[in-house]
């Protein structure tokens, strides 16, 4: 009994080392979104492709759909671009773009050059809608289910692996 008591600090220390060591590797940069199971926030912004065309929440339809936050200055967005294109080509789901703090000319140019996976993009120059969505960096992808509620928020590149793990269950 006495021995056990004397060993207690060592045991606690050992446990602490284990816990801390295992969390070293745990790179969790995915913040839980507060908007899960909530409606997509309302907005009034212009279309990327046409600056005279104002769009609001009502213009997002054909759910389930993805809203993908992207920009020309965002390098990781280039990484996920081919996957977004493949989703479009296979008509898996509608994707709306949210062009985040970008230049309209550059963004349109890039879509022309590399292909446009989006039904259309919302042009959010100041990042106001992005702030309402709790966006803290591009790319981010939101899934809106058939009832119009946000079900998933993914921060970082959308890869086939992430798609399989986080998104696909809401499409069945």
């Amino acid at each position: 009994m006495r021995r056990l008591i004397h060993a207690t600090p060592l045991i606690i220390f050992g446990l602490l080392v284990l816990v801390l060591f295992s969390s070293l590797d745990n790179k969790n940069d995915q913040l839980e979104s507060v908007l899960i199971d909530k409606n997509f926030p309302n907005f009034s912004l212009t279309k990327l492709e046409n600056e005279d065309h104002t769009i609001t929440r009502k213009d997002l339809s054909n759910f389930p759909a993805l809203v993908n936050v992207w920009a020309t200055w965002c390098i990781t967005c280039r990484v996920e671009h081919p996957f977004l294109m493949s989703l479009k080509e296979k008509s898996v789901i509608n994707i709306y773009g949210l062009n985040y703090k970008d230049s309209r000319v550059k963004a349109v140019e890039l879509l022309k050059r590399d292909g446009n996976p989006f039904v259309y993009s919302i042009f959010d120059k100041k990042g106001s809608l992005a702030m309402d969505l709790g966006v803290y960096g591009a790319p981010e992808t939101f899934l809106i289910d058939s009832a119009g509620l946000i079900k998933v928020r993914h921060v970082g590149a959308l890869t086939p692996d992430v798609w399989e793990k986080k998104f696909i269950k809401y499409l069945k």
């Binding site: 008591i5 913040l31 839980e32 507060v34 990042g127 702030m131 966006v135 803290y136």
Partner: protein, 146 residues
């Protein structure tokens, strides 16, 4: 001696300046207020919110684009005479409790708040138990040596 004192005070001063620079005091954007009370509130609020991008610094010390946007938003809200509570609500409705350096007391965070007190009670009990269980052996020793 005088030289030494000058040297010492300069060293201390430079340390102070360096540390001030390191916590982000040197790279401040300008948020002009006409009311000093509001400026004080602004400066204290941006210390209390966490930057969602670089998660180990506060808004005041972060140069991430999102931190700049949020500071600007807080600036606007203060100018609109919004209360601290309203500003906190604005931020938590978008970024969650994560953005608060001082988390609220709720079902997720209660362990953070009461955990240390529980731990302290356990330690007290443990120490008490140690003291009580040691006493007889001590007195035995005392008797033996006599």
């Amino acid at each position: 001696m005088r030289k030494f004192i000058t040297c010492l005070s300069l060293t201390i001063l430079s340390f102070f300046l360096i540390s001030n620079e390191m916590i982000g005091g040197g790279t401040q954007e300008i948020y002009p207020f006409d009311d000093q009370q509001k400026e004080i509130r602004f400066n204290s609020l941006i210390q209390d919110y966490r930057c969602p991008k670089c998660q180990s610094s506060n808004l005041a010390g972060s140069n991430a684009p999102i931190a700049k946007d949020l500071k600007l938003e807080i600036y606007k809200l203060i100018k609109e005479n919004k209360s601290d509570q309203q500003i906190t609500n604005f931020l938590t409705q978008r970024y969650g409790d994560f953005i608060l350096y001082k988390p609220p007391f709720n079902s997720l965070t209660y362990i953070l708040w009461v955990g240390p007190f529980i731990l302290f009670c356990f330690i007290l009990l443990f120490v008490g138990w140690l003291v009580v269980s040691k006493k007889p052996s001590n007195s035995e020793k005392f008797l033996d040596s006599e």
